[in-house]
Structures are given as C-alpha cells and as structure tokens.
Amino acid sequence: MTDMRYAKELMAAAVLVLVAGCGPTWSSSELKTAPTAAATVTGAASTSESTPTDASRILVTEDDITDRAYAVLGDLKVTVNKTTIFNQDPTRELVDAELRKEAAKIGADAVILVRYGTVGISFTSWGSLDGQGRAIAFTD
C-alpha cells in the first residue's frame, strides 16, 4: 500500500516537473536556403556574411521592400505550439518573434512577405500557428 502511495506521489511530482519545466509554447522551424544566398551575401553584403544579427532589430513585414536592394538568404517556416490545452493559443506576435530569431541566426536584416496560418488543433498540439517569410539582407 505504501509503495503504491509513493508511486502515485512520484508520478504527481514528475508531472509537476514536466509541466513546470515547459513554457506556455514550444516551436519548430525550417529554413530553405536560397541557392545563391552564400555568394550573394558574401559578395554584396560582406559585413553580414552569415554573421548572426540582433533579432530585435530585424524588420518583419507582410509586404515587400521596394526602396532598398536586397538579397534573399532563405525562406523561413516556423510553427508555434501551445504546450498544454490550458495555455493560451499562440499569436502572430509569437510567430514574428520566432521568425526574427531564426532570421537572426543567418544574418538577415528583415523578413518580408510574411504570411500566417490560422490557429487550430494539430497532431502535436492543441493549438498551433505557423508562419512563413523570406529572410533577406540589404545589399546597399
């Protein structure tokens, strides 16, 4: 009987640790690098040659940028998932933050043409929201 009680307490503690250890959301990402990215960034924007940039300074926009020349570094796809059914659904702001984080890793200055999915149930989460965007580096 005592063993059973300990087992239950251990199970409850494990669940508590698991839930407490997890944030309200978790995410995944995918990068499809542009075939010409390395050459372009090296040649035209040598200062940002795949050097990680500051994520907080990366512009994220649903539009194109027409007043500055840019090179494409790659197409980003991110998904933000809520950890449990009791967490808030992921927002576009969280998707933007994830896009910024991934774009910073490849030295981007901006993520353009951003588009979002709609929040809903997925095979891995009670609430998922994805987004895509094109990571670019300015060349002028």
Binding site: T40, D64, R115, T118, S128
Partner: protein, 133 residues
C-alpha cells in the same frame, strides 16, 4: 485461394475518424511564399502580362487602399476563427471524436483567407512592377 474482402476494423475506423477531426478542426497552414521577383538575384522578372489591364491602370494609392481593405477583412476572419478555437479544443477534449459534428471548422473563412492572401500577393507584385514606394 481468394480472400474474402474484409471490412475495416473498428480501430482503423476510429483512427481514421480522429485523423479527419484533427485535420479539419485544425490549423490552416500559412500559404506558400510567392516566387522571388524582387531581390538582386531574382530569376523571375515581372512583366505586364502578369497583370490585368484593370490592375495595370491602378495608381499606387489605389493599391494601398485595397491592401488596407484586405488586411481588415483578413484580421476579422482570423479573429473569428481564433474565437472559436478554444471552444473547439474544449469540445474535442471533453467529447473526443464523437464531437466531430459540434466542431466549428470555419472552412469558408479559411478559404476566404487563402483568396485574400493570393490577392495580397498580386497587389504586392503590382506595387513592385509599378515601382511604388
């Protein structure tokens, strides 16, 4: 020896039903990105044939106005889907796959969002073609 046709097992039917509910109630994927026509290494150039004559006649101001309208419509549709999302999750969580008929799939709203995104992409490329700032 010929085998008699077997009907699907209850388990495979249940798995199929779960998949249908999850896939339909679920998150709509973000539409694919358009081709690269704006970078210094773009391998595709925009030509007049890519746009209707009515679109070509539009001013940059007209395009911005329509983009704003699209953004408002998309936001309203997204808000509507988001508002139903929590209810859908609760319904499926409590009642499982038998709740399939109670789930609000928002199929029309999701299709409208795809249509709006396609138009948004057209207008963005039109802005580049017309060299709007």
């Amino acid at each position: 020896m010929a085998r008699a046709a077997r009907s699907p097992s209850p388990i495979s039917l249940l798995v199929g039903l779960v998949a249908v509910v999850v896939l339909a109630a679920c998150a709509r994927r973000a539409p694919d990105l358009p081709p690269d026509y704006g970078s210094v290494t773009a391998d595709q150039a925009l030509t007049a044939e890519a746009f209707s004559s009515a679109d070509r006649a539009r001013t940059c101001g007209d395009i911005d106005t329509e983009l704003a309208v699209i953004a408002d419509k998309a936001r309203a549709l997204d808000d509507g889907i988001r508002a139903k999302s929590q209810t859908n999750q609760a319904v499926v969580y409590i009642a499982g796959v038998i709740a399939a008929p109670l789930v609000d799939y928002s199929i029309e709203a999701k299709e409208s969002l795809d249509t709006l995104q396609a138009r948004h992409d057209d207008l963005i490329s039109l802005k580049r073609y017309k060299a709007c700032l």
